[in-house]
Subunit: 146 residues, 2 copies
């Protein structure tokens, strides 16, 4: 059933994603990189494989800005990540893994009080990290104030 074949294209795509570590890449960028390397990969292949990797939990898909399309990022150690929350800074794109007992209770709370089972492999909290928050203070005008 799950007959997955190993191909040059897939190896290269995954290798590139791993190599980029915590950088997030668009499908376009992945395809462009392959082309530069002299081993072009069709866009549909990129999209298809990227989606497959997301399904498998090896790669994460982000929607940082509309109109710009999605971003992908290799998900190091997907197993342990199932058990904690993730924060993504919309300023610098940094992904923060949060190991915190208090937050573990949040999932429990949602389950018991709201009947909702959170999937940490799919959930990302967006916002600003400390550095980007400070950068914003000053430039920021009346955005926070509703």
């Amino acid at each position: 059933m799950a007959g997955e074949y190993k191909t040059r294209q897939r190896e290269q795509i995954l290798a590139f994603l791993m190599q980029c570590g915590d950088r997030h890449l668009s499908a376009e960028e992945v395809a462009a990189h392959m082309k530069e390397q002299g081993n072009p990969v069709g866009k549909s292949t990129v999209y298809r494989y990227l989606d497959k990797l997301v399904e498998q939990g090896l790669v994460r898909k982000y929607y940082l800005q509309a109109g710009q399309g999605a971003c992908y990022q290799y998900w190091e150690d997907g197993k342990s990540c199932r058990e904690h929350f993730h924060l993504k800074c919309t300023g610098c794109g940094k992904l923060i893994h949060v190991e915190c007992n208090y937050l573990d209770e949040v999932a429990l709370h949602l389950l018991e009080h709201h009947g909702f089972s959170v999937d940490n492999t799919k959930t990302v909290l967006y916002g600003f990290c400390k550095e980007c928050m400070e950068k914003r203070k000053g430039a920021d005008v009346c955005q926070e104030n509703g």
Copy 2:
């Protein structure tokens, strides 16, 4: 400069948004509603006016899931969605607004203990709602395991 005209279309669009309160609407849905009402409005008009409202701070634009397009929501005095979390069921697609003091503390915790300022307008927690959880029990088994 501010030569803004009041037109039937604009009145209706804004009225509909206000009336929908905390529901998120896509541009498509707005246009569809107008059509049903017997007063169709061109899509470009919807998009243009929606964007204008966002600029003016009267309406908020969300990017819940790419590929699905953007969602708009009337922004009643900063009340609504900035202050609570959103849950999205990956089973049935339902969007759940959670008004809960306990969860409000979560944002505070993240800020104080992790130096991260969560943006609830961009953040959505993914998982399964009660109904879909029950459906899944017994059904598929090997989906979680990558």
